[in-house]
Every structure is written in structure tokens, then in C-alpha cells.
């Protein structure tokens, strides 16, 4: 990469960039998450697996600052998103399941505009580099995103995340709807971000993709984190074991 320096995230001082300690989340009287403990270091990819309704999205909402924990604590790079949402949101980039972009703008304009709203101004070169690093073909930079596929949209969103140089990345079902080739490409991108010390939390259904790229995999079951498996050795995970574990709970 020509301008690798610009793409590397800000140095972090805390041990865990994404940190949940005994976090309890509830909507009204209904408790969604019980005593969640999640600690993700810089340069670590954590995949959170779980059935629908297990509390994956709620976990993301806690970090995003859309929901405050009833008890326990949530920190993003040491900042509480519940009390300081604006500060906390400078620490992460978020990529929703269906990447929402401004349809009437081009890929480049989207990144430029959203960077601007995040209080950041970058040169055209930096933006082009980010988009290229995210794997978007240069021919698509100046096309309106209304004709983009899901994979292309995601690349724009990752380009934005790269340009923002944030210490953390929150991903919601990033590989759903992507073909195997696009998934592999996406995982390659995540590895690149890991090299740049970004802490990544992805919530997903996609066991294979998680096993392919994650450093740790957590299983969420009815609001409780029931098991954590770390990657080991050359094969990283025993996929058959994971699958049995995953399918068994569903």
C-alpha cells in the first residue's frame, strides 16, 4: 500500500478496546442479556455466534450507545457509550447488515460526506486509497451507489471505516448474502485490519466465515455467553466440533 500510514488506526492505551463487564440489558421488564462479559483486545477478531433472539443485536446496541446497560459497564476504548455517546462513537466504525448509503451519491461522495459528518476531512487521495484498500474497483469510485451490489456497498462501508482510522469495528452479519468468493475477500480485508491493530466484533450466523477469520468465537444462548473458543494452531478451529456445538443449541 502506498499510504499505509494513513490507514493505520490511532494507538490505543487500554488493554481491551471493546469491553463489557457484567453488562445486563433489558427492554422494560424483559432481560435480554444476563451478565455479559466480553473483552476484545486491539488486533483481535471476535465472532459472536447465536440463534435469532439470543441477544446478538442487543450486544451491538450496547456498544453503539443505542441502549444503556441496566447494570455492569460497557467501554469502547475506555469510554462509556451510554454516557458519552459522541466521544465513544469516535472510537468505532459500524457496518450494518444491509449497508445503507446515499443512493444519489457516488461511492467517493458517500465516504467524503460521511467522513465530514464524523468531523473528519481527508484528501481525495486518502479516500481513493481507502476505497482501493477495501477492494472496490477504481472504476466504481465515481459511480452512484444506487446500482451497487451488497458486496460493493460493504466495500464502501469498509473503505469508510479504514479512512476513519478507528480502533474498533462493529459488524452486524457482515457475510450474509455474500457469495463464497466475496466472503473470502471480505475475510482477507478483516485480516488486514487486524494487522493494523483494530479490535473487531462481528455478530454472525456464518460459522464457516467465523472459523476462517476469528481469533475467538463466543456462543450466545438466550442472553448468556455460554462458551468461548479460541483459535489454536494451524487449523485454528475444529469446525465439525463447532458445528455440532452451534447446531445443537439451535
Amino acid at each position: 500500500m502506498v499510504n499505509n500510514q494513513a490507514l493505520s488506526p490511532a494507538a490505543t492505551s487500554v488493554e481491551y478496546v471493546l469491553d463489557a463487564v457484567n453488562a445486563v440489558a433489558a427492554y422494560g421488564s424483559k432481560t435480554i442479556l444476563h451478565q455479559l462479559n466480553l473483552h476484545i483486545r486491539p488486533g483481535e477478531i471476535y465472532a459472536l455466534l447465536g440463534a435469532n433472539g439470543a441477544g446478538k443485536t442487543t450486544t451491538l446496541s450496547l456498544f453503539l450507545g443505542f441502549l444503556a446497560p441496566q447494570s455492569g459497564s460497557i467501554r469502547v476504548n475506555g469510554i462509556d457509550p451510554g454516557t458519552h455517546p459522541a466521544e465513544a462513537r469516535k472510537q468505532f466504525a459500524y457496518i450494518p447488515e444491509n449497508v445503507a448509503l446515499y443512493e444519489h451519491l457516488t461511492a467517493r461522495e458517500n465516504v467524503e460526506y460521511l467522513l465530514d459528518l464524523a468531523g473528519q476531512r481527508e484528501t481525495a487521495d486518502t479516500i481513493a486509497n481507502s476505497l482501493a484498500a477495501a477492494g472496490l474497483a477504481p472504476a466504481a469510485f465515481d459511480r452512484r451507489v444506487s446500482g451497487f451490489s451488497k458486496g460493493m456497498r460493504q466495500k464502501v462501508a469498509i473503505g469508510l471505516a479504514l479512512a476513519r482510522k478507528v480502533p474498533a469495528l462493529l459488524l452486524d452479519e457482515p457475510t450474509s448474502g455474500l457469495d463464497p468468493q466475496a466472503t473470502t475477500e471480505f475475510n482477507r480485508l478483516l485480516s488486514l485490519l487486524r494487522q493494523q491493530n483494530v479490535a473487531i466484533l462481528m455478530v454472525t450466523h456464518d460459522l464457516l466465515s467465523a472459523a476462517d477469520v476469528a481469533d475467538r468465537i463466543g456462543f450466545l444462548e438466550a442472553g448468556r455467553l455460554v462458551e468461548e473458543v479460541a483459535a489454536e494452531g494451524q487449523d485454528r478451529f475444529d469446525v465439525r466440533l463447532l458445528h455440532r456445538r452451534y447446531a445443537g443449541q439451535a
Binding site: 446496541s61 453503539l64 450507545g65 443505542f66 441502549l67 455517546p85 459522541a86 462513537r89 469516535k90 468505532f92 459500524y94 450494518p96 444491509n98 445503507a100 448509503l101 446515499y102 443512493e103 444519489h104 451519491l105 460526506y113 460521511l114 465530514d116 459528518l117 464524523a118 468531523g119
Partner: protein, 477 residues
């Protein structure tokens, strides 16, 4: 903070520029505005010239009447033509619905005739293409089309969530959209501002009234911008926002303005001219025949005059008693006519007040009041023309009666078959009619409360929008 708001506004403007509906709509509106302005302006100049020509012709015809009995002249009468205010080019108000030609004669108060309403097909009822119509009816609709998706679209597509996760606050977003729509509003208003400015610069209209109109319409469009942003932030889907806003537009601008006047008509009904004339005629006859100096109804008056001059027979009076009776009769008759005219106008004013109270349901009523009163084309102004016309009629008839009193002898005047004429030069001693429009102060007294109502609407919608923007952040989970 402000920087982000402006950035959002700039982006919204770019999206408007890339939106075919917005661009085409604005072009169409501007073209209509230009056509309306030019047409109204030319129409106004033509009718001003026509009215001036007719008034001159009528003045000339009056002055060039031959030697005559003064009372014949009082029956010959005079024609007055209602001059159009320059700002009628902007908002003609009721001009097409009132007559502009007033015939003045002795013992009678006529209606103003030859209004467009009876001279055109029902096509007129579709409305008139004037700058005021464009801004009152079409501009809010364009704002709806242009702005309905402003926030609903961000919510629907998920970009709202994205923005919030980037540290943009929902208030900033709402303010940004509002700023963009307000800038667009300025663009819509620009031709009208130019037109009003030109009218004021060429001294055809008063600066004050032009400014009141500009302020009124600016607040009106701001009100609609707020309404659009508010409803857009309220709805989950842009389609709901569009349908909701269209429904509000139809009710506030098409339905209520037609329905409420009907309610007013039913609540406060006006007498017909027919029955008014019968009752007036009855009371008028009861006053006595002022053509006949021996009418017993004038006996008391006769005694009083005789006493005043210290003579015992009317033939001994130094003045023509027949003329005096004419004056006394006209005085009483005029008071009678004015009483009925006032009653009818007061009822109409009450009807208008009834309608104005509905400004809390549709702010269009307040805007119309402001616009028509500032443009000098409301009922108040028309009433003022009729009242000044009546005053002129009274002075004219009494002036002629005075000539009869002073220049003709009683004996000559009461001799049957005798031609009594006075010199034609007398006809030239009457001043010409000139209409004095309502003073700025009395106009402002009507226009400013209406402006106040509009401002209150803006404040109410502003508060609602602010509250909703706070809820917006919480609605995203």
C-alpha cells in the same frame, strides 16, 4: 456543531439538485410565477388605464352637461370607478368578485356593478393565476414533494442509524434538513420578492406593505418547511410521510377554505338586496316626498325654517324652500341608506371574523387575511370605496340641492311647466372623486395579528419538530 448542520443541509441541497421532481417542479413554479406576475402586472396596468379613462370620460360628461335644473343633474348622477391598488397585481383578492363601477344618483344607493364574477364563465371558480395563488397553493405542495422524504428516507434506508453511530445528533440532522428546505423556500420566494421590490421601487406601492407581504409569505413557507420536516421525521416510511403531508395540504388548502365560508354563510346569513330595498323603500316613503315642499311630513321642518328666518310664509324666505326640503330629505334618506349598508357590511365583517377564527385549523386563513389587507384587496378596502363613494354622492347631491336653494326662486321652481335652468358652469365647481386607500396603520392593525397567528404556528411546529427530533434518537434501537 453548526458545521455539521450546514454540511447536512448542503448534502440535502445536492440531493434536491439530483431530484428530477424538485428541479422540474421548481422550474414549473418559477415559470408560473413569472407568467402570473407579468399577466397580473399588465392586467393591473390595463385596468388602471381603463379606469382612469372611464373616470375622465365620466367627469367630462358630468361637467359638460348643458344648463339644467340642479335636481335634474342630481338624477343624471355620476359614475365612479374603483381604482386598483398597485399591489392588486400581487394579490387581487376579491377584485374579480366585486363590481368596479358605481352609479351615484339622488335618493338612491346603488351597488357596484360589472365585476368579473358575473362576466366570466365558471372557469373563474377554478381560481385565478396570480403570484399570491402560486405561493398560497402551489408552493406548499412543491415543498411537500421536495421535502417529504428528507428524514423518512434516512430512516427507511438505514442511513439514519449510520449517521447516529457516527456521532451526528438527531437535532443536527433535523436542523440540517430544515435549513436545506428553507434555502429552497428562499429560491421559491425570490421572484415574488423581486416583483414586490420593483413595485415599491417604482413607487407604485408603499414599502411598508411590500415588506409586510414578504414577511407574511416568508413565514408561511417556513411554516410549511417545518410541517414537512416534522411529518417526515414522524413517519417510518417515506410513502407514509408523502400521503400524510398530501392529506394535510388537501385539508388545509383545498377543503377548509371552501367549507368554512359555507359554515359562515349558514351561521350568519345576509339579507337579499330585494328585501332590503323593500324595507328601505318603505322607510324612505315614510320620510316624505322631498320633491314636494307641501308634503305634510316636512311641516315641522317648514315651521322650523320659517322660525329660523323670522318669516311667516315660505314665499318670503330668501332662499328656495324646495331646495331646502330636498336637502333635508336627502340627509334623512342618506342616513337611512347608510344604516342598512352598515348593517349588511357589519354582517359580512362578522362572517369574515368567523372564518378568520379557523386560522387555528388552517393557517391559510391568516395568510389570506394578511395578504389581502396588505394588498388593499380585502372587503375592508372595498367597503371603504363604497363608503367614500357614498360620501361623494351625498356631497354632490347636497351641493346640487344647495344650488337649487340659492340660485332658483321658490315661485319659479314651483310653477308647473316652467323651465328652470342654471348655468352649466356650475357643474364644474364640484371636486373630482379621488379614492383614498386605507391608511397604513389601519391595514397593519388587520395584517399584524394575522402575521402573529402565522408566527405562533411556526413556533408550535418548531417545538413539535424539536420534540420529535429528540424522540427520533430514541426510536432507533
Amino acid at each position: 456543531m453548526m458545521k455539521i448542520v450546514l454540511r447536512i443541509a448542503r448534502e440535502e441541497c445536492r440531493s434536491l439538485l439530483r431530484n428530477h421532481v424538485a428541479v422540474l417542479g421548481t422550474l414549473l413554479l418559477t415559470v408560473l410565477m413569472l407568467i402570473a406576475s407579468l399577466n397580473a402586472w399588465e392586467h393591473q396596468r390595463n385596468s388602471a388605464a381603463e379606469i382612469a379613462r372611464y373616470q375622465t370620460q365620466s367627469n367630462h360628461e358630468f361637467e359638460s352637461q348643458p344648463d339644467r335644473h340642479p335636481h335634474r343633474m342630481a338624477h343624471y348622477g355620476h359614475f365612479l370607478f374603483r381604482p386598483l391598488n398597485a399591489l392588486a397585481a400581487f394579490d387581487p383578492g376579491i377584485s374579480a368578485y366585486t363590481g368596479n363601477t358605481l352609479f351615484l344618483e339622488a335618493h338612491r344607493q346603488n351597488s357596484a356593478n360589472f365585476g368579473d364574477v358575473r362576466q366570466s364563465s365558471l372557469l373563474l371558480r377554478f381560481g385565478q393565476l396570480t403570484p399570491a395563488f402560486v405561493l398560497q397553493v402551489l408552493a406548499p405542495l412543491l415543498l411537500v414533494f421536495v421535502g417529504f422524504s428528507g428524514i423518512a428516507r434516512e430512516r427507511e434506508s438505514g442511513t439514519l442509524r449510520l449517521l447516529l453511530t457516527q456521532g451526528v445528533s438527531s437535532q443536527q440532522l433535523v436542523l440540517g434538513k430544515l435549513a436545506a428546505l428553507s434555502a429552497f423556500t428562499g429560491l421559491i420566494l425570490l421572484p415574488a420578492v423581486l416583483m414586490l421590490g420593483v413595485l415599491a421601487l417604482t413607487r407604485e406601492s408603499a414599502w411598508g406593505m411590500s415588506l409586510v407581504l414578504i414577511a407574511g409569505y416568508a413565514v408561511w413557507l417556513l411554516l410549511w418547511s417545518l410541517m414537512v420536516v416534522f411529518i417526515s421525521s414522524l413517519c417510518q416510511r417515506s410513502r407514509d410521510a408523502l400521503l400524510g403531508l398530501l392529506a394535510i395540504w388537501v385539508v388545509a388548502i383545498i377543503l377548509l377554505p371552501r367549507w368554512v365560508p359555507d359554515l359562515a354563510n349558514a351561521a350568519i346569513s345576509l339579507p337579499t338586496r330585494f328585501e332590503n330595498e323593500i324595507t328601505i323603500q318603505k322607510e324612505y316613503l315614510a320620510l316624505g316626498d322631498s320633491h314636494n315642499p307641501n308634503d305634510p311630513k316636512f311641516a315641522e321642518f317648514r315651521d322650523q325654517v320659517l322660525k329660523q328666518y323670522g318669516v311667516s310664509r315660505i314665499e318670503d324666505l330668501p332662499v328656495n324652500f324646495k331646495g331646502l326640503v330636498g336637502m333635508e330629505g336627502e340627509r334623512k334618506a342618506s342616513a337611512l341608506f347608510n344604516r342598512y349598508a352598515k348593517k349588511a357590511f357589519d354582517l359580512q365583517t362578522a362572517q369574515n371574523g368567523f372564518v378568520d377564527d379557523f386560522a387555528w385549523l388552517s393557517p391559510l386563513f391568516a395568510l389570506k387575511r394578511l395578504s389581502m389587507s396588505a394588498a388593499g384587496t380585502d372587503l375592508q378596502n372595498f367597503r371603504s370605496f363604497l363608503e367614500q363613494g357614498e360620501q361623494y354622492r351625498y356631497n354632490l347631491v347636497q351641493g346640487l340641492n344647495k344650488l337649487q336653494t340659492e340660485k332658483l326662486s321658490y315661485v319659479d321652481d314651483t310653477t308647473k311647466g316652467k323651465e328652470n335652468r342654471i348655468d352649466r358652469s356650475n357643474w364644474q365647481t364640484f371636486p373630482e372623486f379621488s379614492f383614498k386607500p386605507s391608511s397604513s396603520w389601519s391595514t397593519l392593525k388587520t395584517a399584524l395579528p394575522a402575521l402573529g397567528t402565522l408566527v405562533l404556528w411556526v413556533m408550535l411546529l418548531g417545538a413539535l419538530t424539536l420534540l420529535q427530533s429528540l424522540r427520533l434518537a430514541r426510536a432507533i434501537k
